[in-house]
């Protein structure tokens, strides 16, 4: 698992890795060194706030511990990063009971594709899974999920386009209870976090899901594109304020984007990251492990 993640990230984050090894490959700790570090972190979308925090913390430690050698600083840097992105969390999927996972996010982050990959994983591990087409807004969104249902041989609950998404969820949970389903994956329409009406629609979906299930069965998951810049912080904040997020899934890490926005988000919000997507294949959706994530970046 670790080596696969490393390979994925090595392939994807070539730029950042070579930059960071370059940074720690020798030389003295001077003004240029810190500026270089700041540049690398900002270019990875970690953001000016979290970047300043990391750099200042390291500067303080370097001074306190009287570190002169950049090699020594590497370990501290790693620990600092791990500290920020490590969030204690409970199990997101509970065994032997119904789990409803509502997938939310802005337009085009890959919600539907991620649901297909998750469904593949859950089915493989023997869970009875059901897909819910609650994106009743976008043209052909229902057809897209249905196509995945066909490919994965899993049932899709749907209504007509333009229907009430909460009603679809209501029906789906009813069906899940009747059939002894383990996991219900709800695909919702992409929406900008600033659109108040559409956020209300999501709240309604969640209310219905909570009403139809038992305590703790409903998880709300934000899907975020790794190419997202600092706007990701606002996305996470507003979706969290509206719905209370249980986890984040970071997609499209197979491009050249570094996904550093995760560091900025974790620094402020401490929402656990569940999966990261590092390729097209369902197996490329991997459980996020902070230590491995940072190590894979650094080694």
């Amino acid at each position: 698992m670790l080596s696969k993640l490393k390979n994925g990230l090595r392939k994807n984050n070539k730029g950042l890795i070579s930059q960071i090894t370059g940074l720690f490959s020798g030389g003295s700790i001077d003004e240029n060194f810190w500026e270089h570090m700041e540049e690398i972190l900002i270019r990875a979308d970690i953001g000016i706030h979290a970047t300043s925090k990391i750099v200042e913390e390291l500067q303080k430690r370097a001074k306190d511990l009287n570190i002169k050698d950049v090699e020594e600083l590497k370990g501290l840097f790693k620990n600092e990063m791990i500290k920020i992105i490590t969030v204690e969390n409970g199990a997101l999927i509970e065994d032997d009971s119904l789990n409803v996972v509502i997938m939310v996010g802005v337009n085009g982050v890959g919600k539907t594709t991620t649901i297909a990959k998750m469904a593949y994983k859950f089915i493989e591990s023997g869970k009875k899974t059901l897909l819910v087409a609650a994106d009743t807004f976008r043209a052909a969104a229902i057809e897209q999920l249905q196509e995945w249902g066909k490919r994965l041989d899993v049932e899709v609950v749907k209504h007509q386009r333009g229907g009430d998404p909460a009603a679809v969820v209501f029906d789906a949970i009813g069906a899940a209870h009747a059939r002894g389903t383990d996991i219900v994956l709800v695909d919702t329409a992409g929406r900008l976090h600033t659109n108040v009406d559409l956020m209300e629609e999501l709240k309604k979906i969640k209310r219905v899901a909570l009403r139809e299930t038992t305590e703790g069965a409903v998880k709300t998951v934000l899907v975020m594109d790794a190419t997202t810049g600092q706007n990701g912080i606002f996305q996470a904040k507003l979706f969290n304020d509206a719905l209370g997020l249980d986890a984040i899934i970071l997609t499209k890490l197979d491009g050249t984007a570094k996904g550093g926005i995760v560091v900025a988000i974790e620094d402020e919000l401490k929402i656990p990251i569940w999966f990261i997507g590092i390729g097209e294949h369902p197996n490329d959706l991997q459980v996020f492990k902070p230590k491995e994530f940072v190590e894979a970046i650094l080694e």
Binding site: E39, I42, R43, A44, D45, G47, I48, H49, V106, N107, G108, V109, G110, F137, R138, A139, A140, A141, E143, Q144, Q146, E147, W148, R151, L192, H193, T194, N195, D225, T227, T228, G229, Q230, N231, G232, F234, Q235, K252, D254, G255, T256, A257, K258, G260, I261
Partner: protein
């Protein structure tokens, strides 16, 4: 959009304005904050670095001229540099001399190509064109269905070949159909692809070679971070494109990607997409956008919209009324209906300048629902009451509130607001006639 950045920059500038003259340290301090604001807005690291250097070069040693204080001059320099970063001129969309004109949309997964294809088709239809949409995304499940369904909604022609797995052939066949059926524009929607996926980049190169589009647009998500430049450079070098369509700008994205891509690739931003609705694609005006970032508001766009929505003669008559203090509730109602024609309240307000020091929520009370309530109240009044609200007594008030489904308190509030507005308008019209603000379309602005 861009609001966060513009608020930040204005705070910096208002601090700067507080100083009569500037020393190097103050300029330095202000530029440091400008740098942070730009980085937070996802402007590319290198672009920021170059920009700050340029501004510093020009700003150091500015002298007080007759018209501008040093602070104003620094602001002017920042503004000029931002505008030149985004491109000085608005690059209009052009058509081929021999029909059909072919547009191709490319970009990463999820950037909004299919939606932009439909929005562009709507935009071109409004120009009197007759577009045909080609679904050349053969990979994403139901992508073809999506475009087909959008083209039906728009009532424009559509071509696809569900049996083919060659998008170059599909595109060619689509153009052939357009030629024989008299469509003067073809828009080719392609599959999303990663700029580092060589196989997929080769495929799109083949499509481009097969159909030689007159314009290729790279579709970019406005929320993209530092990677935006890498993506755009890769697409330019491997495929080349003519301009950008920037999507999802209706959120709170600060749009640093927009600034950076133009600066690094030299490719202009042609369109911006601002909403869920099919008519939310707009031509991009760099100077207006820079003014907007700097908090001067997109007054030009607003005026243009107003000109479309407002009858000039009616407006002139209204202005006369205001000056003579004859503005009535009936006129107020007519005004509101005109504003509604210009778009949603949020859109209109978003274009107005934000004044430094103006409370963040100053405009929060003005929402659609509120306007509807006001409309209902005024509509429940008799003509006499609209012309002379002073006659509204207790029983009239009760009747009006019942008729409009509101309370007497609401009616009272409106009447009070109206009196206040009238006072304000008096001040404003005095001021504007003194200041000779040039052509005025409506007293509202």
């Amino acid at each position: 959009m861009f609001e966060n950045l513009s608020v930040k920059l204005q705070n910096i500038f208002s601090k700067l304005k507080a100083h009569g003259c500037l020393n190097e340290k103050q300029v330095e301090e202000a530029l440091r904050e400008v740098r942070l604001a730009l980085l937070e807005a996802d402007v590319n690291y290198k672009v920021v670095k170059d920009l700050i250097l340029k501004i510093k070069d020009r700003a150091v040693g500015v002298e007080v001229t007759k018209s501008l204080t040093p602070a104003q001059q620094v602001i002017k320099i920042v503004n000029e540099e931002l505008v030149s970063l985004m491109g000085d001129i608005c690059s209009k969309i052009t058509f081929a001399s021999k029909s059909p004109t072919i547009f191709m949309l490319v970009g990463l997964q999820g950037s909004g190509k299919t939606t932009s294809t439909a929005k562009l088709a709507h935009y071109l239809s409004n120009m009197g064109k007759n577009p045909l949409l080609v679904a050349a995304d053969i990979y994403r499940p139901a992508a073809i269905d999506q475009l087909e369904s959008l083209s039906k909604e728009l009532g424009v022609s559509f071509y696809s070949d569900r049996k083919s797995n060659r998008c170059d052939e599909i595109s060619k066949a689509g153009i052939k159909q357009a030629t024989s059926e008299g469509n003067d524009v073809v828009i080719v929607d392609t599959a999303g692809r990663l700029h580092i996926d060589d196989e997929m980049m080769d495929e799109i190169k083949k499509v481009k070679k097969a159909i030689s589009p007159h314009q290729t647009f790279l579709v970019v998500d406005a929320m993209t971070g530092q990677d935006a430049v890498n993506i755009a450079v890769a697409f330019r070098d491997k495929l080349d494109f003519d301009g950008l369509i920037l999507t999802k700008l209706d959120g709170d994205a600060r749009g640093g990607a927009a600034l950076s891509i133009k600066a690094v690739t030299g490719k202009p931003i042609k369109f911006v997409s601002l909403g869920e609705k099919i008519d939310s694609l707009q031509v991009f005006y760099p100077d207006r956008m820079a003014n907007r970032i700097l908090g001067m508001g997109d007054v030009l766009t607003l005026i243009e919209k107003a000109e479309k929505a407002i009858n000039i003669e009616e407006a002139a008559a209204l202005e006369e009324k205001i000056r003579k203090q004859e503005f009535t509730l009936g006129d107020f109602l007519a005004q509101m209906q005109q504003i509604k024609k210009m778009g949603s309240i949020d859109q209109v307000l978003g274009m107005l300048p934000k004044f430094p020091g103006m409370p963040k929520n100053a405009l929060a009370g003005v929402d659609e629902k509120h306007m509807k309530r006001i409309e209902a109240i005024i509509k429940s009044m008799t003509l006499e009451e609209r012309n002379n609200p002073k006659i509204i007594n207790g029983s009239r008030r009760l009747r009006i509130s019942k008729g409009s489904g509101t309370t007497s308190g609401d009616v009272n509030k409106l009447l009070k607001q109206f009196t206040e507005t009238k006072k304000l308008m008096k001040k404003f019209s005095n001021f504007s006639s003194r200041a000779k603000m040039g052509k005025k379309v409506s007293p509202f602005f």
